[in-house]
């Protein structure tokens, strides 16, 4: 288990910053302050932030904010980004309409 996942570690209190109102995830309009607060609420991984706030769950699937969110977590936890797992990659990688996703060729030759 990576030390990141040690939830008993004390990362200090949430201290507001002047630029907390800046939007980090454009698709879901999640601010820097919300993400930092979520980390202090105990969300220590990119996947947890995604589920908790939907940051990185919009149209671009974190293509723009993925790195920004990861860096924010790394800074709050005082670790290097490599110690954090990126968000899980799963199909579909790109936005697909449900009717298209359902229109799947099923023959297995």
């Amino acid at each position: 288990m990576k030390s990141i996942n040690d939830r008993s570690q004390d990362i200090g209190p949430f201290v507001s910053q002047t630029d907390d109102a800046i939007i980090i995830c454009r698709c879901e309009e999640i601010t820097k302050g919300e993400i930092r607060q979520a980390i202090h609420d105990g969300m220590f991984t990119v996947n947890e932030i995604r589920r908790y706030l939907r940051a990185g769950m919009g149209l671009c699937q974190g293509q723009t904010c993925g790195k920004l969110v990861k860096n924010l977590i790394a800074r709050e936890l005082n670790v290097i980004p490599d110690q954090l797992d990126p968000a899980t990659s799963r199909s579909p990688m790109r936005p697909v309409e449900m009717k298209v996703l359902g229109n799947e060729e099923v023959s297995h030759v």
Partner: protein, 543 residues
């Protein structure tokens, strides 16, 4: 489910190169690309590439793209466009959205060549319309013929920021400033010099602190930063702009590799989340390769070589290429890749500071801070011991002062005036023993637009300077305009005495201006009276 020997994801420089090599070995190859046009970023690259003659230096990027497509077609590669790979599963099966259906394909080898996406940085107002990636600006201009804005500020002095700044000016935009938080220019000095001589000011150790505007960008505020990149209060500067371009690096689009289960690492030197690969791009999953920017940010020339290496390795993996042939061909490609990985801008030189060139000449600090060579630099580099420069009759002046892997100028001169030698990163040296005929091939061959032909004896009291010019409209013979210095300062009147457009120049116009002889070594650009190109913030010459 359709089967192939090889599936390539991404029809950019790397993916196409891989597909071509594999198909030539007899493999059935399918390439999927989500875009409507193949070629990846190549068709946005309207500038001439650096490198060696063997690796398509001095060829414009989009031409290389056309060549690759023709080769792929000839080799029997099947390219699927508007085909988005949505997933990759066990045993090398991919799910692809083609039109209104999801289709499955399977292969015995897969090469992921999905490239990279642009990084963003955040500042007050960064989500306003008008804040765009430099690559987005390039797509708008060079693929769709749309001007991104009228007045643009560029953040980022790497090669992307520098090249796109120049292209913005070519498209008729005004670039008000080039800004970078780093204390020195990150890209090639020759790219910086091209835009500095058009009058673009450089603000190093500065960053954007605010994008102004309510519905869209109407201005931008920059501030100087301290050594820790923290903005210093009270140093704000304001510019009226409608567009802010961000060229702050690229991140590999490696999600498919992660989905496939490859061992991944977060390596800042390679741009972020990348797969662990061997020298041919093979990941921890046998038969699954990664090529090009997706396995580490570099540039298109390296991406093409790495693609070829992966294609050959995939062919060998399936037995389409015997081990000996594989080793021989890979060895050649490694030599080529190695030559591109030399010099001051090599991947291994990242973060290093060079005080001197390989020739032992102190590097230009002015070039790194302001984007242009100062008079002392010219003295040091032009009148250096290993070259003798004429000061009468027509002769080349080469303002190439950094060790970068590039040598087309050497072959361009049929008289043998220009020598680079075997080391591709060596500075070109002028051999005055051979006489220059003024043909201009060296000027057109220089991807950095750093070669000029000077004749101090053009007429009593006047010199002629022939310079590369890539703006429209092309100046006309007899036209009167303004000579600009290396920093874009107006020096005085310049008369166009010759305009050449030979086919061999490949769209680079050779403009010869007549200036007072004392400007022979200072005038380096021409600004027409009715300002189309050669922008400058200087009002007195703008009318």
């Amino acid at each position: 489910m359709k089967r192939y020997d090889l599936i390539v994801v991404g029809a950019g420089p790397s993916g196409l190169s891989a597909a071509i090599e594999a198909a030539r070995c007899g493999m059935s190859v399918a390439v999927f690309d989500e875009n409507a046009k193949p070629g990846g970023q190549l068709f946005k690259q309207i500038h001439k590439f650096f490198g060696s003659k063997e690796h398509q230096a001095k060829i414009r990027g989009f031409k290389i793209g056309e060549t690759l497509l023709a080769e792929a077609d000839e080799a029997g590669v099947e390219v699927f466009l508007n085909a988005t790979v949505a997933g990759i599963y066990l045993d090398k099966e991919v799910l692809v959205q083609i039109g209104a259906a999801m289709e499955h394909f399977k292969a015995d080898t897969i090469i992921i060549a999905t490239g990279a996406a642009e990084n963003m940085i955040t500042f007050d107002g960064w989500t306003l319309p008008g804040v765009i990636g430099a690559g987005a600006a390039q797509t708008m201009m060079n693929l769709y013929g749309i001007k991104p804005g009228q007045r643009v500020l560029m953040l980022g002095s790497g090669n992307v920021g520098l090249v796109v700044s120049f292209q913005l000016m070519q498209a008729g935009c005004e670039v008000v400033a080039l800004v970078d938080a780093a204390p020195k220019v990150g890209g090639y000095g020759v790219h910086a010099a091209k835009i500095a001589r058009c009058g673009v000011p450089f603000y190093l150790s500065h960053t954007i602190t605010k994008a102004e505007g309510s519905d869209c960008v109407s201005g931008v505020e920059i501030s100087q930063v301290d050594e820790d990149f923290i903005p210093i209060p009270g140093t704000q500067k304001h510019f009226d702009v409608d567009t802010i371009c961000l060229a702050v690096g690229l991140s590999p689009m490696s999600q498919l590799l992660k989905m496939a289960g490859c061992n991944m690492v977060d390596d800042p030197r390679r741009g972020g989340q990348v797969p662990q690969v061997d020298e041919n791009g093979e990941t921890s999953i046998p038969g699954l390769f990664a090529a090009g920017d997706v396995s580490g940010i570099e540039e298109a020339s390296s991406a093409m070589i790495k693609g070829r290496m992966s294609g050959l390795a995939a062919a060998a993996y399936l037995g389409f290429l015997n081990e000996q042939d594989k080793d021989n061909r890979l060895a050649d490609l490694e030599v080529a890749l190695d030559s591109l990985h030399q010099g001051m801008f090599a991947p291994g030189s990242k973060g290093k500071t060079f005080a001197k060139t390989d020739e032992g000449i102190a590097v230009s600090q002015s070039l790194l801070k302001k984007g242009y060579l100062d008079d002392a630099d010219i003295e040091r580099f032009i009148h250096r011991p290993d070259q003798t420069i004429k000061n009468s009759g027509i002769h080349p002046v080469i303002e190439c002062t950094q060790n970068i892997p590039c040598n087309p100028c050497q072959d361009a001169c049929t008289r043998g005036c220009i020598k680079v030698g075997k080391t591709i990163t060596a500075l070109p040296r002028i051999d005055a023993a051979n006489s220059c005929t003024g043909c201009g091939m060296c000027i057109a061959s220089c991807s950095g637009q750093a070669i000029f032909l000077v004749d101090e004896d053009y007429a009593p009291g006047y010199a002629s300077i022939t310079l590369p010019y890539e703006f429209l409209p092309r100046p006309q013979k007899g036209e009167l305009g303004t000579a600009l210095s290396r920093s874009g300062q107006p020096l005085g009147h310049a008369e166009i005495i010759d305009v050449r457009n030979a086919k061999a120049f490949d769209q680079t116009t050779l403009v010869t201006i007549k200036v007072p002889v004392e400007q022979a070594m200072t005038a380096r650009f021409y600004q027409p009276k009715t300002n189309a190109a050669g922008q400058s913030g200087k009002k007195e010459i703008r009318q």
